[in-house]
């Protein structure tokens, strides 16, 4: 699904929330930059992770567009801890 390309079509979009299971920071960064370049009015995008605990939402990062194509991606402690945990599990498995 080429949804990032589809999101480019929302030319008036100012705020975007993406709830995803994709916790890859590089991919999120790439998506954020692509959107910042292509959606001129986008001011803020939030990436959230749906948890397994009802309707709680874990905010992963907030993407704020500064100027031009410059974007600031700030990550919450949640995603960092989550990835550290996954990394630790992977290292132990190896």
């Amino acid at each position: 699904m080429d949804i990032v390309r589809s999101l480019h079509m929302f030319r008036e979009l100012e705020r975007l929330t993406l709830i995803t299971a994709d916790l890859s920071i590089p991919r999120i960064q790439a998506m954020a930059l692509s959107l910042a370049q292509s959606v001129p009015r986008l001011e803020i995008a939030r990436v959230e992770q749906m948890t397994n605990f009802g309707d709680q939402i874990m905010e992963l990062c907030v993407i704020r567009k500064n100027s031009g194509v410059d974007v600031d991606v700030s990550y919450t402690d949640d995603i960092i801890a989550w990835q550290d945990k996954l990394k630790g599990n992977a290292e132990r498995s190896a």
């Binding site: 990032v4 999101l7 929302f10 979009l13 929330t17 960064q29 990550y75």
Partner: protein, 279 residues
């Protein structure tokens, strides 16, 4: 994620609709959510077939109706003949007219127009109907309507001609772009759309409020055309300001963009590099 949680999330949106007193029962997965939802005080049954929860949930037959309809104190007997069904409604109507507490009200679309048009039914604060194309008169009377129906092509055309009415459209069934086209025909309004679509493997929902749209898809065949749906939405709602998109759990953002896309240069992104980790 268990399917019921999906439904709970949809119901959580209902908290924002303070005057909701009923909810469409067309999917047994909604049952627990309805029963536990404090804002839902009454349940209107829109059509006898929904009492049987036929095809929407494989576990439907395993759910005792008494539990399913805990908030339905005056349950409809699906074995009733059409005449008995009429009589039941007539009894309910008379009870309401005489100020008796009837909780909830069982409703079918065709009978609704016959029995519920009277403005002297103060207990009817919200109405759940199965097909909005049959109940525009009721909409004008009540002004606060939940519409539950399975054919999105039928939604909205008449309702959007009534600008003074706040519509809460509850859609159960397959969600396709034409539903947005019908909204667009009427221009932006205070429209809330709660949509539940059952598919083989999950539920997807769509929420549209003015030009704020939230769409969620989970795994399953129905989610494979997410890109097409987004393309349709962007062309239908070109002024969309806010978008909330829940992606399928198996969705991964692309890592490499082709030449027609924006060139991605990681150094352009200010992010804590120490936390860069490819999962």
């Amino acid at each position: 994620m268990p399917r019921i949680l999906e439904v709970m999330q949809i119901c959580s949106h209902l908290h924002t609709l303070k005057d909701i007193h009923g909810f469409f029962v067309g999917d047994s997965a909604l049952v627990d959510a309805i029963n536990s939802h404090p804002a839902i005080q009454k349940v209107w049954i829109t059509h006898p077939e929904h009492m049987r929860f036929p095809e929407t949930s494989p576990s439907a037959s395993a759910v005792p109706q008494a539990n399913v309809l805990r908030k339905l104190k005056c349950a409809y007997n699906p074995e009733l003949s059409p005449r008995e069904f009429h009589e039941t409604f007539e009894t309910l109507r008379l009870m309401l007219l005489h100020g008796m507490q009837v909780d909830p009200l069982i409703l079918s679309t065709r009978l609704a127009s016959r029995y519920l048009l009277s403005p002297s039914l103060p207990q009817v604060q919200a109405l759940v109907v199965h097909r909005c194309d049959q109940v525009t008169d009721i909409v004008r009377q009540l002004g606060d309507v939940l519409v539950a129906q399975r054919s999105p092509a039928l939604v909205g055309l008449e309702l959007l001609d009534m600008p003074q009415t706040t519509f809460r459209l509850v859609h159960s069934g397959h969600v396709t772009p034409p539903i947005l086209s019908t909204f667009e025909m009427g221009g932006p309004r205070d429209i809330s759309v709660f949509s539940v679509t059952s598919s083989e493997n999950g539920v997807r929902k769509m929420v549209c409020r003015k030009l704020v749209l939230s769409l969620a898809l989970v795994d399953g065949p129905a989610s494979t055309n997410l890109s097409d749906i987004l393309d349709e939405i962007s062309s239908t709602l070109p002024d969309l300001k806010e978008l909330s998109l829940r992606l399928p759990s198996n969705f991964r953002f692309p890592e490499v963009y082709d030449a027609n896309w924006s060139i991605v240069t990681p150094t352009q992104v200010s992010a804590p590099q120490t936390h860069m980790l490819q999962l």
